[in-house]
Amino acid sequence: MKPAPFEYVRPSSRAEAVAALATHGDDGKAIAGGQSLVAAMNFRLARPAVLVDLNGATDLDYLRPEGGKLRIGALTRHAAFHRPVVEGPLGVLLARVVRNIAHYPIRQRGTFTGSLAHADPASEWCLVSRTLGAEMVIANTGGERVCAAADFFRGTFTTAVGTEDLLAEARLPLLGPNWRSGFFEFSRRAGDFALAMSLAALEIEGGVIRAARLGVGGVADRPLRLEALEAQLVGQAPSAALFAGMGEAARDLITPTEDIHASADYRRDLIRTVVNRALTQAAS
């Protein structure tokens, strides 16, 4: 199908974009990569009256480590992460995850922050942001605020970003040299959204887990961070039995969603497997 008519505005800076979103209020909608929004518009599931195109706001196009964080501007495409973007474990983690997002041509246009603002429950970047404790920088005409990942994701396609807000930046904490990561996703076909996925990051020193991050995505209305299990991992030596036990514990902790793609029971099985595999990869 074809999208419904809309007015098109193309601000040329972050400040202009913020002003345009304020001017158009409920009628306006930001478009970044368009890889979720245009599909929804073609189906007429979304009918914004005014499209505020962020692609001309070149001051949103940046990606750099600063003050212990990786700062990801709103025009950073998925494809930017195909190769490690920073030295150390975080760059490796992001390069490992990005290959699971959609397909190569979609990754040329889709943006990191667009994924967060869209908040598909099966979004890989949402899982990364929640698990690693990202901060989101939300701007409007009143200024900017920083929102923690724990407060950012509010449900399916729902976040802390209001209609007049611009998600200007996401900040991921850089991981020190002793961190390693693992990611495992199950989907039915290459490029499909995950039925279940897990991200694990472990800081291992002297054969012992010093710190852990563990998250599961695609199984609930938002990405889940399993802090209770993270605490159990700390102080332990990595082992197959430990990780298998974590998989089972994760399965028992989560009440998964059920849809036409998978029953709750099937997803429970998947949770056990993806958590075990992500942890095993992280420790290997």
């Binding site: 199908m1 074809k2 999208p3 419904a4 008519p5 809309f6 007015e7 098109y8 193309r10 368009g34 890889q35 245009v38 599909a39 518009m41 073609n42 189906f43 499209l51 195109d53 692609n55 494809a79 290959r99 959609a102 397909h103 190569y104 041509p105 979609i106 040329q108 246009r109 290459a190 490029g191």
Partner: protein, 165 residues
């Protein structure tokens, strides 16, 4: 109805001055306004890849972009591949390796393959398969498409300076 605007699209090195509503997708503009019907439209939601074209040398879904967004960019479509009567190495390889049957998916696959081979001439077999999994083909079973792109890769390496990512 939103006002139409004058948009200049540069496609295969040639300027097309068209007048379109903002809601006109790049795919529709190429076909209906520029008369370049080589770019095909299947699903209109990014899944099939029939509409894949190059924008600033990167493969993108032209059904998920608006024509107004392509102004000032460099668009390349399947019509720009051959040099007069001489087929592009990828087109030749698709022919020789039976990389097509009905041909509906072929323009999309050709542009996807052109984009990836220009960016990464030495791409591994595994990565190439992964990139080619971006597009759908209902006829060939994919194996001959992979063979064709592999065959073209060596020829393109021999005759083209590699573009960087």
């Amino acid at each position: 109805m939103a006002d139409k605007r004058a948009v200049t699209l540069n496609v295969n090195g040639k300027d097309y001055r068209i007048t379109v509503e903002p809601r006109r997708t790049l795919a529709d503009a190429l076909r209906d306004d520029c008369g370049l019907t080589g770019t095909h439209i299947g699903c209109e939601h990014g899944v099939c890849g029939a509409c894949t074209v190059l924008v600033d040398n990167r493969p993108v879904r032209s059904c998920l972009m608006f024509a107004v967004q392509a102004e000032g960019r460099n668009v390349r479509t399947v019509e720009g591949l051959a040099n007069g009567e001489e087929l592009h190495p990828l087109q030749k390889a698709f022919w020789e390796k039976h990389g097509l049957q009905c041909g509906f998916c072929t323009p999309g696959f050709l542009m996807l393959a052109t984009g990836i081979l220009e960016a990464e001439p030495d791409i591994s077999d595994e990565d190439l398969r992964d990139v080619l999994s971006s597009n759908l083909c209902r006829c060939t079973g994919y194996q001959n498409i992979i063979k064709a792109v592999r065959a073209a890769a060596s020829e393109m390496r021999a005759c083209q300076p590699s573009a960087s990512l």
